[in-house]
């Protein structure tokens, strides 16, 4: 028995041996910048993805024709050094840089640009592989083949491409700056086929960093491209993306020196990081919105007084203070204030439960209500007068954390209690996980109030308002219907003069406020945490952040 105990002790000692001051727990010495990512990239062929992680990784080496300028969403030249537009807005001529090379040695030129655009657009293109899903191309350019707003991309010089459109397209330069439209090496795509962008192959671009390796769910390593054509203001030679799914673990990793920066600290940790001597926070400018939508199938919600009462009942100031990171603000319209087209004259709904109760009484509900009447939907997604069913008043909360919604359930519970204060007895509705929630939303089955939001893609108001309301009524927007809003937004999309477009968006925002189309709750930035050894990181509201500006001590 004694021998067994001795054995036990020995085992314990041996097991403890590795514990003593251990090797490289620090982020690498030298000029390595280690960024803690919250998930694995999906693929590094950026045209084939929609997630921000793949985009941030790929963007460091795969470049776009235009870039976003610093912390703004203003497009500036990049691989396209200048451009001209025809008077009718249908023809764009881009002059390209003539000294860029892909990291496989092949030249960047007009042919390479045409190759990429044709590959995305035409489903019959040999490099448009059967498994490819160029979803962002379809969304931003109107569709594939003839449905695309791009009629043709032509090589009109070694370093000149001419893009001909079927209609003027206001967001052109902003869309070109999106990482998903970066220019990959045609030779690399030809060589690797549908495997281009997978962990074994990575990406081949013209950018300041080139792909070294990708170990799934562990890390991606990039190293400096010595032949980069442009300027590299920073001093980083090696970029490592370490994949750390848990936010608390990412914070711990930053404290321990395992990483130099990360995105998305828990809201509770932000204050601690701000108060630390060795760490600091930068906030990406708010480029999103969280809202509470109405299902217009509900008879009670079709009365603007009821919608207004609900808007006045919810204390958005308190919600933002309680649930959102510092710097978040209450939303007055769909557009975040930093976006051009934002109408600063649209007032916020005042929190006024008494006023809300009075409005409800005027609408015929002096005692509030706890049940709602769901109407049937007829042809063309128009809501009819026929009753489908009655059901309890339900507020559906988002089952997953999103950048614009840090705590769907918590916020939902708060909202329910505000509604109860004015006599509206609502219950919290849950619909499975994120995918199930989206399914129900698209089918128009979230018959009640439902939470959702949006993060902007390209710094253009059309990407917010146009995307949601240009075509209405549709099931996924709760059958919201306003023909005037639809027409105005379609018109704004085809104009190229920013002032004219801004005026239209202002008008739409005012209309939506007056009719209480939706209750916009908050805009929030996204926090990034850094170790003091990092400088020069420029945050971007669209998360298009170029590491070439970063320096490490």
């Amino acid at each position: 028995m004694r021998k067994l105990s001795v054995l036990l002790i020995l085992v314990l000692v041996v097991a403890a041996l590795p514990a003593f001051p251990h090797s490289a727990a620090k982020a690498q010495a030298g000029n390595t910048f280690t960024y803690g990512e919250y998930g694995n990239p999906v693929k590094l062929d950026l045209a084939d993805v929609t997630d921000g992680i793949s985009a941030l990784v790929g963007l460091q080496g795969c470049e776009t024709l235009t870039n976003f300028d610093g912390s703004t969403t203003n497009p500036i030249p990049n691989l396209a050094k200048s451009w001209t537009t025809s008077d009718d807005g249908l023809t764009w001529k881009f002059e390209l840089v003539d000294n860029a090379k892909f990291t496989d040695g092949t030249p960047f030129n007009a042919e390479a640009v045409k190759y990429n655009f044709d590959r995305w657009q035409f489903t019959t293109n040999p490099a448009h592989f059967a498994e490819d899903v160029f979803e962002y191309y379809g969304t931003m350019w109107g569709g594939f083949d003839d449905a695309s707003i791009i009629k043709s991309v032509d090589v009109t010089g070694d370093y000149e491409v001419t893009v001909t459109l079927t209609a003027p397209y206001g967001p052109m330069l902003n869309t070109l700056a999106m990482p998903f439209f970066c220019i990959s090496s045609p030779a690399a795509i030809e060589k690797n086929g549908a495997q281009y962008g997978t962990p074994e192959v990575g990406f081949v671009g013209t950018g300041p960093y080139k792909f070294v390796e990708w170990v799934s769910d562990d890390h991606v390593t990039l190293t400096r491209n010595p032949d980069y054509w442009g300027e590299v203001p920073g001093n980083v030679d090696t970029v490592v993306f370490r994949i750390i799914p848990d936010a608390a673990a990412r914070y711990a990793a930053l404290q321990a020196g395992e990483i130099d920066a990360f995105e998305g600290p828990n809201v509770e940790d932000i204050k601690a990081i701000q108060g630390s001597d060795s760490l600091y926070i930068q906030m990406r400018g708010a480029n999103n919105v969280m809202y509470l939508a109405f299902s217009y199938r509900i008879k009670e919600f079709r009365d603007v007084k009821v919608r207004q009462a609900i808007a006045m009942a919810i204390n958005r100031d308190e919600i933002v203070k309680a649930f959102y990171p510092p710097g978040a603000e209450v939303a007055t319209t769909m557009l975040p204030p930093s976006l051009w087209g934002f109408n600063k004259d649209v007032p916020a709904f005042k929190y006024d439960p008494e006023g809300a109760k009075a409005l409800l009484a005027e609408a015929g509900y002096p005692n509030g209500f706890s049940e709602v009447t769901v109407l049937k939907v007829g042809d063309n997604n128009q809501v009819t007068d026929q009753v489908d069913k009655t059901m309890p008043l339900t507020l559906y909360y988002q089952p997953v954390q999103r950048p614009y919604n840090p705590d769907g359930q918590g916020i939902g519970e708060a909202m329910i209690s505000y509604l109860a204060d004015i006599g509206l007895q609502a219950q919290l509705g849950s619909v499975g996980d994120w995918s199930a929630y989206l399914d129900e939303r698209v089918a128009g089955n979230l018959t009640g109030l439902y939470q959702l939001g949006w993060t902007g893609d390209n710094g253009d108001p059309d990407n917010f308002l146009g995307y949601f309301y240009a075509k209405n009524p549709v099931p996924q927007e709760g059958y919201y219907e306003n023909a005037q809003v639809g027409q105005l937004l379609l018109q704004a999309r085809t104009l190229t003069d920013q002032a004219q477009r801004a005026a239209i968006y202002n008008q739409v925002e005012q209309i939506q406020h007056d009719e209480v189309a939706r209750i916009y709750i908050a805009h929030t930035g996204v926090a990034l945490a850094f170790a003091n050894r990092v400088s020069g990181y420029v945050v971007s509201p669209t998360a298009t952040e170029y590491f070439k500006t970063v320096s490490v001590k």
């Binding site: 028995m1 021998k3 067994l4 054995l7 036990l8 097991a15 590795p18 514990a19 001051p21 251990h22 090797s23 490289a24 727990a25 982020a27 690498q28 390595t32 998930g39 693929k43 084939d48 993805v49 929609t50 498994e131 899903v133 979803e135 379809g138 969304t139 549908a194 997978t198 962990p199 074994e200 170990v215 799934s216 769910d217 562990d218 890390h219 490592v240 370490r242 994949i243 750390i244 799914p245 848990d246 608390a248 673990a249 711990a252 990793a253 404290q255 395992e258 619909v431 994120w434 995918s435 199930a436 929630y437 989206l438 939303r441 698209v442 939001g453 949006w454 993060t455 549709v474 996924q476």
Partner: protein
Amino acid sequence: MGKYFVRRLVEAIPVIFGVSVLVFMLLHLIPGDPATAMLGERATEENIQGLRRQLGLDKPLYEQYIVWIGRLARGDLGNTVRGNIPVSNEIRNRFPATIELSLAALTLATLFGLPIGVISAVKRNSLIDTASMFAALFGVSIPIFVLGLLLIFLVGVQLGWLPFVGRLSSGVQIGRVTGLYTIDALLDGNWSAFKNAVEHLVLPAVTLATIPLAVIARITRSAMLEVLNQDYIRTAYAKGLRSRTVIVRHGFRNAMLPIVTIIGLQLGTLLSGAVLTETIFSWPGVGKWLFDSIVARDYTIVQTMTLIIAMIYVSVNFAVDVLYAVIDPRIRY
């Protein structure tokens, strides 16, 4: 024995087939699909349908099943729905990580669980017994997330004793042979890489080992108690054999059957991946990958991995049964 092996193999086929059908049906029954998950807030009726067509999800269910199972039968694990990446590559990258962590956790659990269980049984109702069983209860009760984060902040951040992100520090390279970094580093003769790999293994393995350790300790104690009450034990003592001989050779050996079963089951569970531990320690194994794939409704990954996990359980159960025959000569198949 040979006939037994063949019979077990044949019996396994309907089990695996049944699992494949069940998982396929369940996956397609729950709301949401890869198209919706991929499109997120951008989802509209049109782009969902377009994407479904492109991914072949508009075909009848039986056709989709036949395509998948037919490919599998030819050894083709298919490509992920998101990103179109060969599933075999993804598994090859992730499974060794899970195997390494599972083996480490199970080794710790067994190494400590068995002696604790034996000592507790021998010194029944003593302070050691009470303390051990309390510790076992604690191990089983504490949420993995809490334990893991506690260890990270205490051992990793405050004390700085051990790393807690991934399997290796940045920049450490190991030539890949088995994919188990500890073994590969030894094969490489790379002592510092071996040390680095072991350091990264400690915290997640300790976290993951708490539940199996508790279970093994308790089962061992129960099994030993039952055996120690037997007449032959009393006879052995009466014959003048040393205490250690009686307990280990006569007691423990005869108690092993239920213990081996439990260890086998624990191995099966561990090999199917430990989502929580992998998440906290950023361990690139199959557990978190499978969880993420369910959320993303990546049908190919979920269906294929579930089948693989079923096959692992079947194999582990078979191995345990074979071990029975080795341990207990009275058992013959």
